[in-house]
């Protein structure tokens, strides 16, 4: 089991709030083709296994797996879909290579969220059907086809009124979590606003970002409350795009003559779905980081890791996640930010890509977006946003509302 696993190719599309000019297959094809060219491999001959990360409900297909092979080069080849964030796919690829089962594996993840017209209800569909969904708006008794007893009567509302079709937007959950986070850590709304200012500014230097903006804390604080204490600008807007990586064992990477970036640590974790029982301190991130640190032999993360990308789909999440992965004590991440430690020239450059606040919420491709930035930085290809001498980087992602699941990966230059 001494095989080392490395990233040998990366590819991505532009990221845009809407992409009416391409279908999701063409979006995936573009990212994959770029990654295969970057790695110098022919997917029809050189890639042993193909992984896509996608959630059926977001795509609008039952068994989305079936619609994947053509555009990623996987027809009649080993291919599977992981229902989760892209980092889970990266972990799956890691295991396939580490065990010696495969030498070269491709991983694709994308967002075509602009195709989904009813995102609110789809996310509500992820809440508990007994205790949570009925509290979020009116529920009608179903009309079962084929059973006359059911179709005779008009459906009766179980909760609420069927006349008001109004249901609460699922992002209220992030508002609840932020409330709890601010209170227990003495972090302020202003500090969270600083995350938005920083990330949207970083996005100016990342050509793939769609939501760059030069704004101040006052702009964020003055934007309307949507789910107190979350304001409009605290929330990452949706975006479409696709990202693909090619992974290989070290020997294959050397044979191909590419400059490998090593995947040296990986961890993942899931909390209980009971909202009332969760800690709301991103324990999933904490556990997955500990697993990844152990695998990568990292004992003091803050000293050994040069650059991080953490999930910032809501502003407070960046601070909460930094604390969860051990880069700051609870309540300290906000101070670190205010003292400039999370800036490009700071002690812990964080979300140099612009993060989800600057690029947009890539849904299941969020983890891939984080990892893409780390790989680009470790390759030294980040142009104006390049962090000098970056050797070790960490990418962390959460599966989004309402999940308590996430993963962490650690990448290294020059050999793990």
């Amino acid at each position: 089991m001494s095989r080392k696993v490395c990233v040998i190719g990366i590819g991505h599309t532009d990221f845009n709030s809407i992409t009416p000019d391409v279908e999701w297959k063409e979006l995936m094809y573009e990212a994959c083709q770029k990654a295969y060219v970057d790695a110098g491999v022919d997917p029809r001959k050189d890639v042993d296994s193909f992984i896509t990360c996608a959630e059926d409900y977001l795509e609008g297909f039952s068994i989305f797996d079936e619609f994947v092979p053509d555009q990623i080069g996987a027809v009649l080849r080993p291919c599977c879909t992981v229902c989760g964030d892209g980092l889970y796919g990266l972990g799956t690829a890691y295991m396939q290579i580490k065990t010696g089962l495969m030498d070269v594996v491709s991983i694709e993840s994308h967002s075509k969220i602009s195709d989904l017209l009813t995102m609110g209800d789809i996310l509500l569909h992820a809440f508990d059907p007994v205790f949570e969904r009925p509290v979020m708006g009116p529920v009608e008794r179903p009309r079962y086809g084929g059973s006359p007893e059911y179709t005779k009567e008009a459906p009766k509302p179980l909760v609420g009124s069927t006349k008001e079709k109004q249901r609460v937007h699922p992002y209220f959950l992030a508002g609840m979590e932020m409330q709890n986070y601010l209170r227990t850590t003495d972090t302020t709304e202003e500090e969270c606003a600083e995350v938005v200012v920083k990330n949207k500014m970083n996005a100016f230097f990342n050509p793939m970002a769609d939501y760059e903006a030069k704004i101040s804390v006052d702009n964020v604080m003055g934007s309307e409350y949507l789910f107190t204490p979350l304001k409009k600008l605290d929330i990452s807007p949706n975006v479409d795009g696709a990202i693909t990586f090619v992974l290989a064992d070290e020997k294959t990477a050397r044979d191909l003559g590419v400059d490998p970036i090593y995947l040296s640590g990986f961890g993942w974790s899931s909390e209980t779905p009971w909202l009332s029982t969760r800690e709301m301190f991103a324990d999933y991130a904490s556990r997955s980081s500990q697993m990844a640190y152990k695998m990568a032999g990292i004992t003091s993360p803050k000293k050994q890791i040069d650059i991080v990308e953490v999930d910032d789909r809501f502003s407070y999440k960046e601070l909460q996640h930094l604390e969860a992965i051990g880069m700051a004590r609870p309540g300290e991440a906000g101070q670190m930010l205010m003292e400039g430690e999370l800036a490009r020239d700071g002690a812990l450059p964080t979300n140099m890509s612009g993060g989800s606040l600057g690029i947009g919420n890539c849904f299941e491709a969020t983890g891939m977006q984080k990892a893409l930035e780390i790989i680009t930085q470790l390759r030294g290809h980040a142009a104006k946003r390049q962090v000098p001498d970056a050797e070790v980087g960490l990418a962390q992602a959460w599966r989004g509302i309402p999940s308590g699941s996430g993963a962490v990966t650690i990448f290294e230059r020059g050999g793990a």
């Binding site: 391409v22 555009q71 209800d121 509500l124 007994v130 086809g145």
Partner: protein, 178 residues
């Protein structure tokens, strides 16, 4: 609430749940219905194909490298993984690859007039390139694998750029030859 199941074996005495039990809310269950709507942007290949249907044409794409004519068209060839090369207009005739006669609707209820449905290989395209559609103007006895068929189109004013701009495929008059 529930009736005893007659003739149940002694080791597994059961009670049957009746529809009435469910209607009267004697069984604990919950329900919820999400509002689910998608609007997929179709991109280059599908958009052009559907625009073609609106004009009463079936369009394909060629892959020179693999010597294939792809219907429905795509901008990339899934065999060689390269981009496809050019648009080509095909005939609206073809051959039934396989079919089935469906006697049930999607809720498994018996329907009076069975639905004839199958896959058609379009003439001029590579083998096994075509799409699924309904068959009409033929009986359950007539339909067979290898049967030559022709598209029956909606009138131009009723076409909207959808696969259903073709109403169904009917037997091709004048024989079995391609």
């Amino acid at each position: 609430m529930a009736e005893k199941i007659e003739g149940s074996p002694g080791y597994a005495p059961g009670t049957r749940v009746s529809t009435k039990d469910i209607v009267e809310n004697k069984i604990t269950y919950t329900w919820w219905e999400p509002e689910v709507q998608y609007s997929w942007s179709l991109g280059q290949a599908m958009s052009k194909f559907l625009t073609g249907l609106k004009k009463g044409k079936i369009l394909g794409r060629t892959c020179i490298k693999c010597d294939r004519v792809l219907v429905p068209p795509r901008m990339f060839c899934e065999y060689c993984y390269g981009p496809t090369d050019a648009w080509i207009e095909l005939k609206d005739t073809g051959t039934i690859e396989t079919y089935s006669i469906s006697y049930l609707d999607s809720d498994a209820r018996r329907i009076k007039k069975p639905i004839l449905i199958g896959v058609i290989s379009i003439d001029g395209a590579s083998p096994q390139h075509g799409f699924m559609h309904y068959f009409g103007e033929m009986s359950e006895k007539d339909i067979h694998i290898g049967m030559r068929v022709k598209a029956v189109w909606k009138s131009p004013k009723d076409r909207e750029g959808a696969i259903t701009d073709i109403k169904y495929f009917k037997p091709l008059e004048g024989g079995e030859k391609k």
